[in-house]
Amino acid sequence: MTARAPSLQRRLLVGVIGLVVAVWLAMAAFTWFDVRHELDELLDSHLAQAAALLVAQQIDDLGDDHGIDAPSLHRYAPKVAFQVWHEGRLVLRSANAPSAWLAGEGSGFTSGFRTLQIDGTSWRVFATRGAERDVQVFVGEQIGSRADILLAVLRSMLMPMLLGLPLLAGVAAWGVRRGLKPLREMSDALAARDPRALQPVQLAGTPAEMMPMVDGLNALFGRIAALMDSERRFTADAAHELRTPIAAIRTQAQVALGEADGQRRRHALEATLAGCDRATRLVEQLLTLSRVEAGAPPAATDIDLAALARRTVAAIAPHALERRQQLEFEADVAVPLRADETLLGVLVRNLVDNATRYSPDGARVRVRVDQEQGRARLVVEDSGPGLDDADRARLGERFFRVLGTERAGSGLGWSIVQRIARTQGATVTTGRSAALGGLCVSVTWPPTR
C-alpha cells in the first residue's frame, strides 16, 4: 500500500482552526496598524497643542527670574517632558527634562516632529519656535507609553480569542466527526460484510456527496456478482457435463474387467478409450469457453481470413478423408480482417469441425470465404441432415446436442462460436444449404474501416 494520506478528519480540523487563527491574526495586525495610526495622530496633536500653549505662555512670562522647573502635576507626568529656551538659555523645563538641548546641540532640529533617543529611551518630540521672539519649545513624550496603549488594546482583543481557541477546536472537532459519520458508518458496514455478500450497499441517510461513491461501489458489486455467477454456473455445468462421460468410462472399464469373451472385452476397452477422448475434448472445449467468457481483451491484428480458414481446413481434412467426406475450400481473394487470430482460429475450427463431425460418412462439406460490400464472410455448408427450426433455435445453448447424433460431441462448440462472434461484433446465421441440402452457417464480420 502507498503512504496513507492524513485522515480527512484531521485535515478538516487543521484547516478550520488554522483558518480561524489566521483570520484572527490578520484582524489583530489590522487593528495594530489602525490604532497606532490614530493614536499617533491624537497624541502628536496633543504634543503640538502643548507646545503652542508653552510658546504663547513664554511670550508673557519671559524675563521673570523664577525657577525654570515646572511642578509635576500627575503621576504620569514623567512620561512627558518639555523645555523652553529663550535666546539660548533654558527658561522652563519639566522636572524630568534634561538641562541640555533636548534635540541635541547642533542637530538643527527646531520645528516639527521627530523620534529621538535620549538616555536610552525613545521619545517623540515636537519642536516649535516662537514666531516673533527667540523662543524655542520642545515637548516630548516617551514612545513606550504609546506602545503600552497599543498593547492594552490588542490584549483586550486577543485574550478572548486565545481563551476561545480550545473551545473552538472542540466544537470544530465535534462538528467534523458528526459530519463524517456517514462515511464511518459505511466503512463499518463494508468491514462487517461477508466477503461473498455482493448485494448493494444500502445505508439510511446517505448524504448527496457520498451517493456517487455508493453508486459506483454498488455498480462494481453488481459486476462482480455477475462475474461470479457466471463462474459458478460454468463450474456447475462443467461438473455436471463431465459426469456422463466419466460414468461411461467407468462402466465400460468395469465391463471389460468382467468380460471373458475376447471380442466383447475388446469392444468395451475401445469404448473406454472413446470415452476418454470425449472427456478430453469436453475439457478442452470447456477451457476454451471459459477463456472466451473471461473476456480477456482480444489482441486484434490484421489477418487474412482466407488464409486462416485454408489452414484450418487443411488441418481437419485428414479426419474428413478418414470418413470419405469431401471437404472443399473456396476463396478467390485475400479477405483482410482485424481480429484476434487465436480466437478467430478457434471459431473457424469449431464450425468446420461441427460440419464434418455431424455429417455422415461420405458427406460433402464446403467452406467458402468471400467479401461482400466490405464485409468479410465465412460460409460453412454440408450435405448432412441439417437442423429443424426448433433445434436451430436451441443451438448455442450450453451442452445442447441434437438428438440422434451418434458422434461424440460436447454440445459446447456452438456456445464457443457464438461467444467469439460476439466479441468480434460478427453475426452468425444458420439456414439450409441450397447447394448441399444440409446445414449452412455463415458468419459475417462488420466492414473494416
Binding site: 462421460p245 465391463v255 468380460e259 468395451a268 470425449r278 438428438l403 440422434g404 451418434e406
Partner: protein, 223 residues
C-alpha cells in the same frame, strides 16, 4: 430379470447394457424419453433405469406420467443432476431410488435387485420357498441345504416364479421376464426349462395349471 434402460449417451448406454448383462440382467435399451414411456407400458419390466436428461422428453416427465397412469415398475433414476432439490424431486415424483453418475456396476445391480425385492414385498435379500433358497446377488440356489447348479435361464425362470410365488404366470409372461429384445425364443423353451428345474429341484415344486401357466406354491417360509 428383465430391465429397461433409458439412456441417451451411446457410450454409457452400451456399457450399462453390457455390464448389467454380465451380472445376469436382461437389458432393453432405449435412447429417448418417448421410447422409455412407450416401452415401460408395453412390457412388464422387473425394474427400469432412467436417465433424466433424455432427448425428446425429460425423464422426470416420463416418470411422473407413468406413476400417474398407475404404473408400478420400480424405477431407479440414474442422472448427472446431483443437487439435493433434484434428488428430492425425483424421489417425490415416483423414483424408487436416485443414483448420481458415475456409478459402480455392481452397486447399480445390487440396487436394482433390492428394488425388485421390495417391489415384491420381500424384505430379505434371499428368496425362500419351502426348502428352496435363491440368492439373487450371488445367483445361487440351494435345495434342502444343498447347492444346485442352474443355467442362466433356469435361474431367471426360478427367480421369476419365486418372486411371484402363489401366482400363476403364463408362458408369455415368463418369456417376457427371461428374454430381452432381439433374442429368438423357441416355442417350447419355457417347457424345457421347467422340465429341467423339476428334475433338479423335485417334481412337486412347480405346478402346472393346464391352459394357463405355471405356479410356485407359496408355502410357509422354511426356517
Amino acid at each position: 430379470m428383465r430391465i429397461l434402460l433409458a439412456e441417451d449417451d451411446p457410450l454409457l448406454g452400451d456399457g450399462l447394457q453390457a455390464g448389467l448383462r454380465q451380472l445376469g440382467f436382461q437389458v432393453d435399451w432405449v435412447r429417448d424419453g418417448d421410447a422409455a414411456a412407450r416401452e415401460m407400458r408395453a412390457q412388464p419390466y422387473a425394474a427400469a433405469v432412467l436417465d433424466l436428461g433424455l432427448p425428446r422428453r425429460d425423464g422426470m416427465d416420463v416418470l411422473a406420467d407413468a406413476r400417474r397412469d398407475g404404473l408400478k415398475t420400480p424405477v431407479l433414476v440414474l442422472t448427472a443432476r446431483d443437487a439435493v432439490p433434484d434428488r428430492i424431486r425425483g424421489l417425490d415424483v415416483g423414483a424408487d431410488d436416485y443414483v448420481v453418475k458415475p456409478v459402480d456396476l455392481h452397486e447399480l445391480a445390487a440396487r436394482l435387485r433390492a428394488l425388485v425385492r421390495r417391489a415384491h414385498g420381500q424384505p430379505q435379500d434371499k428368496l425362500r420357498c419351502g426348502t428352496i433358497v435363491l440368492d439373487p446377488a450371488a445367483r445361487g440356489v440351494e435345495c434342502g441345504g444343498e447347492p444346485v447348479t442352474l443355467s442362466t435361464r433356469e435361474f431367471d425362470l426360478l427367480h421369476a416364479l419365486m418372486l411371484n410365488a402363489g401366482r400363476v404366470l403364463s408362458r408369455e409372461q415368463l418369456e417376457q421376464h427371461l428374454y430381452s429384445w432381439g433374442r429368438e425364443v423357441e416355442s417350447n423353451a419355457i417347457e424345457v426349462h421347467i422340465h429341467h428345474l423339476r428334475r433338479k429341484l423335485g417334481a412337486e415344486v412347480i405346478q402346472t395349471v393346464r391352459g394357463v401357466g405355471y405356479l410356485l406354491a407359496r408355502d410357509m417360509p422354511a426356517a
